[in-house]
């Protein structure tokens, strides 16, 4: 194991975060705070409670997931796309480092960033609404699992993208809608039965449901299903990455 190389990539990627602090950390925190103001205070004041929890409190797990998902994808996809774009990828490809180690460096850094961000947003949320986390260990488990899985997914997008447009396409057109429709701001029980069935096809529902359960012990689907679905997505991403490196897809001629 070339642990020095993993460390070099990891620290390089983390250094990029500190360099772009405003964009990486401050802007997601600001936009989440705005969600609290708009949904929590303005709209939430007209909704009494959702499954025994005040609306402002109810949306906290969904908002954290929203940021963790989008930031994991953004960080990881940009992290690997940028060296491809500038050409500095030559150095990674010519270094004595295995594919697994490359992924560990890039995805590790992307996941670290989004997990830190999730915790910052959690702390920010605490300033707006009273919070109580029933299962902190499970909360962290879901946070880490989601951060890692979607960083892997972002890594795949970064490899696949051959232009900035494509880099933005999946997060904008697929991930954001799925997250909004995945129960960030409501319980899918509030939907009519047909739409509820449709919603269950959305993988993000399982993530948010499990994560919300760890906070308030209320869930749209059972926790084991949530964990199972997230793990399944993780495995799909891992297999895809294994295939990318085995074939050199969009990396090696």
């Amino acid at each position: 194991m070339n642990h020095r190389a993993i460390r070099a990539i990891y620290l390089f990627e983390m250094a990029r975060t500190w360099r772009t602090l405003l964009q990486s950390i401050v802007s997601p925190v600001v936009s989440t705070s705005l969600y609290f103001v708009v949904f929590g205070a303005a709209i939430g004041s007209r909704i009494s409670q959702v499954e025994g929890v005040s609306y402002g409190t109810f949306i906290v797990p969904g908002l954290i997931m929203l940021s963790v998902l989008t930031q994991s994808i953004a960080n990881a996809s940009f992290g690997i796309y940028f060296p491809k774009f500038t050409g500095t990828i030559y150095e990674i490809l010519s270094a004595p480092i295995s594919y697994f180690e490359i992924v560990l460096g890039y995805v590790g850094a992307a996941a670290t960033k989004s997990i830190i961000l999730g915790l910052i947003i959690l702390a920010t949320a605490g300033l707006f609404v009273p919070l109580h986390i029933h299962h902190p260990v499970w909360m962290l488990t879901f946070l880490v699992l989601t951060g890692v899985t979607f960083s892997l997914f972002g890594f795949i997008i970064g490899i696949w993208a051959d232009g900035f447009e494509k880099l933005q396409m999946i997060p904008m057109l697929v991930v954001t809608p799925l997250t909004f429709l995945g129960g960030s701001f409501y319980s899918i029980d509030m939907l009519p039965p047909t739409w509820r069935t449709v919603a269950l096809l959305n993988p993000v529902v399982y993530l948010i449901s499990g994560f919300r359960w760890s906070f308030y012990e209320i869930a749209d689907v059972s926790v084991s299903v949530s964990i199972g679905m997230t793990t399944a997505f993780l495995v799909i991403c891992l297999v895809t990455i294994w295939w990318i490196f085995r074939t050199g897809y969009r990396l090696k001629n």
């Binding site: 070339n2 020095r4 190389a5 460390r7 070099a8 990539i9 620290l11 390089f12 250094a15 360099r19 500038t86 050409g87 500095t88 030559y90 150095e91 990674i92 490809l93 010519s94 270094a95 004595p96 480092i97 295995s98 050199g248 090696k252 001629n253």
Partner: protein, 307 residues
């Protein structure tokens, strides 16, 4: 001298069907400076990319320091430093950070003294804290060399190292390369500048259309393929050559002021002695004479044309 790189039956066909390399066989000796010459699109960069792990071979085998580049890639790659043709840099990193990053990437423990030495050798020390984006093209090129040298490689690939670099800097870079060779590093450079190969290389390989056309010691190559030119500066201009000199294939230049005679150094008889004697007989006198060896460039152009 033993081989440090051994390329056997290497072929590369791109997805488009383009055959970039056709059954290439090549051995690079330990400690030499090897110049790989060839026109654009000949396969130079593809060959280097495969040896360094950036492109996959279609067929064939490459050993670096005795290690297979595919099955034992860690050992093979850790011996190599690569300076690619294009200036690929992390614009917003400092020189120090980017060079240290490369060292880590190649699995070497931190060694600020070595990084300092590399930067000083390449006259980059006063720029160590500068962001790469602020550096000139020549400095960026040296940063890339510094990155390649950061992990103390035994082999250095320089793909067109002096493309777009001014004369002074080019000479400075040659100096760096010579010093590296003295420290035991094997250097493989590709170049368009024939004078660069002529100046630097111990051996020369010519590649054209994906095939190695020739590999030879530079001196032997020059001798083997080199032609010499004798130029006679005449005392009095002449309008035409006397018939007695008709069989020499002489050229009358500069309005009859100089006579030019091309001869082959490989030939047993160059014909110079009899030419000079016949000139005297014909009453043609000269003030001065000089001979020039044909350059590697002439040889190269000839080779590529005939292949």
């Amino acid at each position: 001298m033993s081989s440090i790189i051994s390329v056997a039956n290497l072929s590369k066909t791109y997805g488009s069907g383009f055959k970039a390399l056709k059954n290439v066989n090549l051995d690079i000796k330990r400690g030499e400076i090897f110049a790989l010459l060839g026109p654009n699109g000949a396969g130079k960069t593809t060959l280097i990319s495969i040896i360094c792990g950036i492109a996959n071979p279609s067929e064939g085998k490459v050993l670096v320091g005795g290690e297979d580049i595919q099955t034992s890639y860690r050992k093979a790659r850790s011996l190599i430093g690569l300076v690619p043709q294009e200036l690929h840099t992390d614009a917003f990193e400092s020189v120090w950070a980017t060079v240290s990053f490369s060292r880590g990437l190649f699995g070497k423990p931190k060694n600020p003294d070595h990084v300092e030495k590399v930067l000083k050798d390449l006259s980059l020390w006063d720029k160590k804290d500068s962001k790469i984006i602020t550096l000139s093209g020549g400095m960026k090129r040296r940063v890339m060399i510094a990155k390649a040298l950061s992990h103390e490689p035994q082999i250095l690939f320089l793909d067109e190292p002096t493309a777009g670099v001014d004369v002074e800097l080019r000479k400075g870079m040659w100096e760096v390369v010579r010093t590296l060779q003295q420290s035991g590093v094997t250097i493989i450079l590709t170049t368009h500048y024939i004078e660069e190969a002529e100046e630097m290389a111990d051996r020369i390989g010519v590649i054209n259309k994906g095939e190695i056309v020739l590999v030879e010691d530079k001196a032997t190559l020059m001798q083997k393929l080199g032609k010499k030119r004798l130029t006679l500066h005449l005392q009095n201009e002449i309008t035409s050559l006397p018939e007695s000199l008709g069989h020499y294939e002489l050229d009358l230049c500069d309005s009859g002021a100089t006579l030019v005679y091309d001869y082959d150094t490989k030939g047993e008889r160059t014909g110079i002695t009899s030419l000079l004697s016949d000139l005297r007989t014909a009453g043609i006198r000269f003030n001065d004479l000089d001979t020039t060896q044909s350059s590697l460039e002439d040889i190269f152009v000839d080779l590529v044309r005939t292949s």
